[in-house]
């Protein structure tokens, strides 16, 4: 069971984070200030740290910077009320691995946490595999049931991101941020359209669907019998 350290001074937010992570089968511990958080993070081995950007005593940026200086590579999900792009850049430069703006939807937070946890596991594979869907990371070719699929560059990047995080819920924002690299609200249903297009190429007629819609949250690529959540 992954152990998560939650460094957050606002009790309500902290409760939300802890409840959501626990509900996802993670063990979350809460610390209310930066100094204690840093001490705890250095003492024990956590799989993930969620870190508030603005903390009493020691700022979130300082905590993550100190953590990295001490040689820790524990993934850090920064959570901040500061939404400006510059703040995001500062947070990530200081050593954060992802940046989430308050107020956030808990499922968005847990989805990001899960992706960060997954990233920790070694990924030296040259091929990603979900059921009979395969992605060759060297030749950039995807196969479904052994048949090569023609993918546009964007579709390839989208599929790679989804397959690297197979079995995990990916929100539209996460997809947009990772695949396209931008941090704003594209608003319309553009991501849905891209997913729909990819889905038509991958899930052909008669084949079991691999890309699933997670209601109210986003998408997930997974073999049908593994689906743990409400999907359609």
């Amino acid at each position: 069971m992954p152990r998560i350290l939650v460094i957050e001074d606002d009790e309500t937010t902290a409760r939300e984070i802890v409840a959501e992570l626990n509900a996802r089968g993670m063990l979350a511990e809460w610390v209310a200030n930066g100094q204690d958080g840093l001490t705890r993070a250095l003492q024990r081995d956590y799989d993930l740290i969620t870190l508030d950007r603005m903390l009493p005593g020691m700022d979130g940026i300082d905590v993550v910077a100190e953590l990295r200086r001490s040689g820790s590579d524990t993934p850090v999900l920064m959570i901040s009320a500061l939404s400006d792009v510059d703040e995001r850049v500062r947070g990530l430069r200081a050593g954060g691995d992802d940046y989430l703006t308050k107020p956030f939807a808990p499922d968005e937070m847990s989805a990001r946490a899960e992706v960060l946890l997954r990233r920790r596991q070694p990924q030296s594979a040259q091929r990603l595999r979900v059921a009979d869907l395969e992605l060759d990371l060297v030749s950039h070719v995807a196969y479904r049931a052994g048949q090569p699929l023609t993918l546009l560059p964007t579709e390839y990047r989208l599929l790679e991101f989804m397959m690297r995080n197979s079995g995990q819920v990916l929100t539209r924002t996460m997809i947009f941020e990772t695949v396209w690299g931008f941090h704003f609200d594209p608003g319309t249903n553009v991501i849905d359209v891209h997913i729909g297009r990819l889905r038509r190429k991958i899930d052909g007629a008669g084949q079991p669907a691999l890309i699933h819609t997670v209601r109210g949250t986003g998408y997930m690529i997974v073999t049908a019998h593994e689906t743990p959540l409400v999907v359609s």
Partner: protein
């Protein structure tokens, strides 16, 4: 709008002209008075002289009268003071007047000769003259007349003096007036230049005030106070908006979280669909708040945070790729035309966001089967991006309004969206010092042109693609 003063409309010009006209009238009246008085005085003197002379000649011995008259005429070869003696039948007896001026009353009073008097020294040219005639006891008629053209000469001198006086004062006066007028005009232009950014929405700017403290400065001071007040009020309104958006986001996010958990718990029951539609609605509200706060965030942001050399064409290509599936789903022709490399100083992320909003809008408002064309080209001053669609277009009177927060044209009321897309675009455009111009497309759609360089307000007219053709041609030639 350019406030260009017409030459004769400036206050100082008008004052100078009025003052000049008064001066001319007053000078003319004054000189006229002088001339009139002088003439009257000289006429009196002449009349007295004539009467004296008449009295003197008439009183000489009647037998020697003709000789006296001839003697008097002899000492006046120029005919300045003519004298003539005529018999009863008006025949000349002596003197240098050939014909008796019959119109002259013989009452011993001086009158103006109706037909003048011929001057013997000037080929008998008739000159103005005053004279008197009297009938002597023997029935002969004695006439004395004096040329008064010299008095008229004085009138001419006075008129010339008036002319000189006026031209020596009025012409330099007018010239000086024009020179003086340039000062205030320059200041008006400076004020106008200072108001341009204010009109474009930068309320932090103020009008310049000189050290003179004159009327213009007082006026500028009043306007500045007013601007300060407007800025304060606007920022209060904006602050209230932002606070509402900000404060409502947290409870709405909590509400969403609860609904989400409920949805997870009830699983596949029929109520789940209802809960999901609630979540979709809340997401919609949250995305509007996010957009609203995004506009404020962009407006508060200061220039040049992450500015770098960016190829606008490259960014537009990404936007095109991003929206391609959407346009294809709607059966729209969606083309991209990159004419040349188009480097500009920009924040690539914000530029993408702005272009994505423009393109997203164009696709949204263009009906299925329509056409959306993107084009990037190089003007002389920098890159420009045209987004042309075959939708309903944006009416000319709504073009300013659509960039304001939450404004939605009549055409767009049935379409989804926050109405904040163009506000975000215009905030980004302002941040970059670029210009966005809304015009007509080649058919009936809209054409939005992003100029990646500053544009003066009067340059913002003009239509879309057609205008760039010669410039592009000159670039590639």
């Amino acid at each position: 709008m350019k406030v260009r003063s017409k030459r004769w409309h400036s206050t100082s010009s008008r004052l100078i002209l009025i003052y000049g006209a008064l001066f001319v009238v007053w000078g003319a009246v004054l000189m006229g008075m002088i001339q009139w008085e002088t003439t009257r005085y000289l006429n009196t003197v002449i009349d007295q002289m004539l009467q004296q002379r008449m009295h003197y000649i008439a009183s000489t011995d009647p037998t020697r009268l003709a000789a006296t008259v001839d003697a008097a005429a002899a000492i006046d070869p120029h005919g300045i003071m003519s004298v003539g003696l005529f018999d009863k039948d008006h025949q000349p007896l002596a003197g240098n007047i050939d014909h008796l001026p019959t119109s002259l009353l013989r009452d011993g009073q001086v009158h103006l000769l109706k037909h003048g008097l011929p001057r013997p020294d000037r080929d008998a040219e008739r000159v103005r003259a005053r004279g008197l005639a009297t009938t002597l006891p023997d029935g002969n008629i004695l006439v004395i007349a004096k040329d008064i053209s010299t008095i008229d000469g004085i009138g001419a001198i006075i008129r010339r003096a008036l002319l000189w006086g006026i031209s020596l004062t009025i012409i330099p006066g007018l010239l000086g007036g024009f020179l003086l007028r340039r000062g205030p005009e320059r200041r008006i232009r400076a004020l106008q230049k200072a108001t341009d950014p204010i009109r474009r929405g930068d309320l932090s700017k103020r009008l310049p005030i000189s050290r003179r403290g004159d009327e213009l400065d007082q006026l500028a001071g009043i306007v500045n106070t007013m601007l300060g007040e407007i800025e304060r009020l606007l920022s209060e309104v904006k602050g209230v908006c932002d606070n509402i958006a900000h404060d409502l986001r947290t409870p709405l996010t909590r509400l969403r979280a609860r609904l989400y958990r409920t949805q997870q718990q009830i699983g596949g029951k029929p109520e789940a669909a209802l809960v999901e539609s609630c979540i979709v609605d809340i997401d919609e509200v949250l995305s509007r708040f996010r957009a609203l706060l995004r506009v404020s965030e962009l407006e508060d942001r200061h220039r040049a945070a992450c500015f770098d050399e960016v190829d606008v064409g490259q960014v537009l290509r990404q936007v095109h790729e991003f929206y391609m599936p959407v346009a294809e789903d709607r059966g729209q022709v969606f083309d991209l035309d990159i004419q040349s490399p188009a480097p500009a100083r920009a924040d690539a992320h914000l530029l993408f966001e702005a272009l994505a909003n423009l393109v997203g809008n164009a696709i949204k408002f263009t009906p299925s089967g329509g056409r959306v064309s993107l084009r990037v080209s190089m003007d002389k001053r920098g890159p420009r991006v045209d987004v042309v669609d075959s939708g309903p277009g944006i009416p000319a009177d709504e073009r300013d309004a659509v960039m304001r927060r939450f404004y939605r044209g009549d055409n767009s009321r049935t379409t989804g969206g926050s109405g904040l897309g163009l506000s975000i675009v215009s905030a980004i455009v302002r941040l970059h010092g670029y210009a966005l111009v809304i015009g007509d497309g080649s058919s009936n759609g809209a054409c939005l042109t992003l100029y990646c360089y500053p544009l003066a307000p009067e340059e913002k007219a003009g239509t879309c693609l057609s205008r760039s053709v010669p410039e592009v041609a000159s670039m590639t030639a």
